[in-house]
Amino acid sequence: MGGASVALAGCATAPSVLRPESAPQHTLATLGWWLIIVGSAVIVIVLAIELVTLRHRGRTVADTPLVASPGSTRGIVVGLAITAVVTLAFFIYSAVVLGATERPRGRPGAKIEIIGHQWWWEARYLGGTPDQAVATANELHIPIGVPVALQVTSADVIHSFWIPQLQGKIDVIPGIRNTFWIRADTAGTFHGQCAEFCGLQHAHMMLTVTAEDARSFQRWLAAQSAPAAAAPPSDTAAAAGGRAFMSSACALCHTVRGTGAHGILGPDLTHVASRHMLGAGAVRNTPGALNAWITDAPSLKPGADMPRIDLTPATMHAIVAYLQTLR
């Protein structure tokens, strides 16, 4: 699992919910900080009271006479009143934040359909004509500074879509199409991960969101919507690999737009070489790892549907060369 032992590309620091990179997460994080600060104060105050109550300690039960005074319940009433005020304040604050973040303000800069699979993310960019269709996996791109509308559902079990620094979570539930939105206000690549236990490889159901300025995003979208370029005739290995891809098991499960491969079980590979990782964060997308992945995916990601593919080394090499051309 060589690739997994290094940080995901562009995510060298922790995807902390308290280091927001978007307006909505900023609102959530501010609420979070207030909860943490006031909550910590409550803990410290109770600890202090408890320690003060120990000032008149008895040494043993036998030499400490019983206290017969009735004591006063005034402290209980005051404590209850303070608790009620603080929790009510937080309830109102939460309700306000809920109202403010529930729906995006402004026109969405992109509409994406997210479909959870065991164990990868399918993303379809909506709104274009059919020939502009963009289908990719595990690595989203969005424009910064505008909301992005999401429709999320699942092809199998329940997952949860989560980019900690951009937004809260939305569960990805089969039979239900949840609407959600994300937004990024700084450029960068942000780590995300499935948050609802979804089976054997729940740990390897990661995704990234790359936020970029509008022009870069449009360029990326245009490139992704293009059908696969035919391998240059000079690159004989890639051309042979393309033919091998179409005639082997690959094309049964994967789509490469513009070719005869129309499989729908696995990720769309039309621009697979533009992605940084394979297997939803399992390994880095390098020629060597790609070769290993095709040869024996189950050893890199036990339980994944991608089967072992038995090909001659030469054919394997050609297919890898072909996939490298799918930029």
């Binding site: 032992s5 290094v6 620091t13 922790a14 995807p15 902390s16 919910v17 308290l18 959530l28 609420l31 979070g32 909860l35 409550v42 803990i43 109770v46 600890l47 009271i49 109550t53 120990l54 008895g58 043993t60 039960v61 036998a62 400490t64 019983l66 206290v67 017969a68 004591g71 006063s72 319940t73 402290g75 209980i76 404590g79 009620a84 929790t87 009510l88 937080f90 309830f91 604050y93 939460s94 934040v97 809920l98 329940i158 900690p164 809260g168 979570k169 939305i170 539930i173 089969p174 039979g175 949840n178 780590h191 991960q193 948050a195 236990f197 089976g199 054997l200 729940h202 740990a203 036990p302």
Partner: protein
């Protein structure tokens, strides 16, 4: 009618109540003290099993990209850990104390339904054996303790793993329901004369509130598990969205059970602390009625917060706001309990025994768990922390803080009553500090790994996401916590042989269980005491005069009988004939076990045979025996 204790009386009572030391006696006893101790030992063994599963997980997660466990091994370990701890340890351990103590605290000779009591123990034991059979043969449940459909459906979980879960849970609910009915009936009908509801030891409020919650909450769980089993084996489609079912149906059913369950497994423990804290604060509790009401209100509010676990499922904002409000409101009764204990300490003269240290530690952990509970009740921020290690930290502060710490406190407190010997106090203090420091070292950093974006239930994680350090610290803390639990076990085994002799009332406590010998005789009290105040053993020193009669009262030695009293005021109402020992509850439990083995292996002949045997055993159990007696 009032009689003082005489040797002739105690001899006669022993003849009537003692269980012979034979195999038949072992399998047939209905003595609540034996049953209570069995519950305690069995539940503690399950705590150790669940603890080992947790330690294995912490070894796997202590460094990134670790390979100690396979993904399947990890998923079974965390599912078994959660299921064991939450369902098979947390309530049964409390039922153990309540079983042992209810009749003693109430001044009765046994529980209201002694045979049902034996039955609830045997079904608890057999359901645990059933669950662990699956794990032993490599078919341990592996979809998490809340087992969200449709991952649990046959298509995604083809092995029998989730059948062991669904059937094991149904099996356990039989036990828990029987136990709950018994606690309720015992509380309402078996109190010593004079023990009106206002004089009830606070201990009892927690267990009875939890028992009512059990009766209303558990059916949802049994139904959900039955639906799952039907989906898996009989072609129903309750949770299959592709065929008109609903994935979220499981979550609603599960959490309608699940959130009340959280209170079911903490309220009795809180109430234990309402006994321990006044004893060692050397004064009656301040705010008795506040505390009793807080417990009952928590139990009721617990039914209004289930969606609290589903804030990210896409539920409309109005519903989210409602359930957010309910989740916040439940803070209030908890706060009342905290302030009651603080006021009791404030106006008392606290003595720092080991039991008291665990109680004081519990108060702080309860507050931390309560605060992180408010964090998750703030709906928008819950979208950030739900399903992360923050929630893992929260549930462990709640469940270890408000269940395990009180349980250890209760052991230090009541062990002398059960065994006649005190646990070692010097070792006890080590025990407390190692557990307390280990716990916080282990679980506090989980808040941080959660905030750093680490989801729960991942079997490994890459380096470079900032999760490495908190995970290493968590693992070290977990190992230290395990050493603390080990110190407790050492103390128990050492003290069973060499502990100081306790005497009747080593802590100079106020409630009735301390009026009888340690350990108590089979009949508990030679004469039925009469209660005139909340603190019968303190009342004279509190200047209330001699209101209770402990050593004189009706001996009820004509037969195996105890006194029934009126529901509210505790007026003597009837003399209740108590059943003798019988192996029928044991045999019924065995027959049910056979039925469940038949269902899990889909060996229908075995399931049917087990079902028929179950009916036959119940028949034999309930068959009226004609006896002629002189009363």
């Amino acid at each position: 009618m009032a009689t003082a204790t005489t040797e002739r009386l105690t001899e006669r009572l022993s003849d009537l109540w003692e269980t012979p030391h034979t195999l038949r006696g072992v399998l047939g006893t209905v003595d609540h003290k034996t049953i209570g101790k069995r519950y305690l030992v069995t539940a503690f063994l399950l705590l150790i099993a669940g603890g080992i599963e947790a330690l294995v997980m912490r070894v796997q997660l202590q460094v990134p990209n670790n390979h100690v466990l396979s993904p399947e091994g990890f998923n079974q370990a965390f599912t078994m850990h959660g299921t064991t701890m939450i369902l098979w340890y947390a309530l049964p351990i409390l039922s153990g104390f309540s079983n042992y103590l209810f009749p003693l605290v109430l001044g009765a000779r046994d529980m209201a339904f002694p045979r049902l009591n034996a039955f609830s123990y045997w079904t608890f034991l057999f359901s645990a054996i059933f669950l662990y059979t699956g794990y032993a043969v490599g078919l341990g449940p592996d979809a998490g303790w809340f087992a969200y459909a449709p991952l649990t459906e046959l298509r995604y979980s083809p092995g029998a793993n989730m059948d062991y879960y669904a059937l094991g849970v149904i099996f356990l609910t039989i036990s828990s329901t029987a136990g709950a009915v018994n606690f309720i009936a015992t509380m309402f009908k078996m109190r010593a004369p004079g023990m009106s509801l206002g004089r009830l030891p606070l201990f009892v409020y927690g267990t009875v509130t939890a028992s009512f919650s059990i009766i209303f909450a558990l059916p949802a769980l049994s139904v959900a598990c039955a639906f799952l089993y039907l989906d898996r084996h009989f072609g129903t489609r309750f949770f299959d969205p592709g065929a008109g079912g609903q994935a979220l149906l499981w979550q609603h059913l599960f959490w309608i059970f699940g959130h009340p369950w959280v209170y079911i497994i903490v309220l009795p423990a809180l109430s234990f602390m309402s006994m321990v804290i006044p004893t060692f604060a050397r004064r009656p509790i301040v705010g008795y009625a506040w505390n009793a009401l807080a417990v009952v209100i928590t139990g009721i509010l617990g039914f209004g917060v289930w969606v609290h676990h589903m804030f990210a499922t896409g539920i409309p904002p109005l519903a989210l706001t409602f359930f957010g409000a309910a989740s916040m409101a439940i803070v209030l009764p908890s706060a009342v309990s905290i302030f009651v204990w603080l006021a009791t300490l404030w106006y008392g003269r606290p003595v720092l025994t080991t039991a008291m240290l665990f109680a004081l530690g519990f108060i702080i952990l309860f507050v931390i768990g309560g605060v992180s509970g408010v964090v998750t009740a703030a709906v928008p921020f819950d979208w950030s922390v739900t399903d992360t290690y923050f929630v893992v930290a929260h549930i462990h502060y709640v469940l270890i803080g408000i269940n395990v710490f009180p349980v250890i406190a209760a052991f230090y407190y009541w062990f002398p009553k059960m065994t006649g010997r005190l646990l070692n106090e010097a070792l006890g203090k080590w025990n407390f500090w190692v557990m307390f420091i280990g716990f916080n070292l282990g679980f506090f950093p989980m808040h941080i790994s959660g905030l750093l974006g680490m989801p729960r239930r991942i079997y490994t994680y890459p380096a470079g996401l900032g999760w490495t350090a908190p995970n290493l610290i968590t693992s070290i803390g977990a190992y230290l916590f395990a050493v603390g639990v080990l110190l407790f076990l050492v103390n128990v085994f050492w003290s069973l042989r060499r502990g100081a002799i306790a005497g009747n009332n080593p802590w100079d406590a106020a409630s009735l269980e301390w009026a009888t010998t340690s350990p108590p005789p089979a009949y508990n009290f030679a004469v039925i005491p009469t209660v005139g105040s909340r603190e019968p053993l303190w009342e004279e020193r509190l200047g209330l005069g001699r209101l209770s009669r402990i050593d004189e009262g009706p001996p009820l030695d004509s037969d195996r009988v105890t006194l029934q009293t009126s529901t509210l005021d505790g007026f003597p109402a009837a003399v209740q004939r108590m059943p003798e020992d019988t192996v029928m509850p044991f045999l019924t439990g065995l027959a049910i076990l056979a039925t469940f083995y038949g269902l899990v292996t889909t060996a229908w002949w075995l399931a049917i045979a087990g079902g028929v045997l179950t009916l036959a055993a119940i028949h034999a159990w309930l068959w009226p025996v004609r006896t002629i007696r002189e009363v």
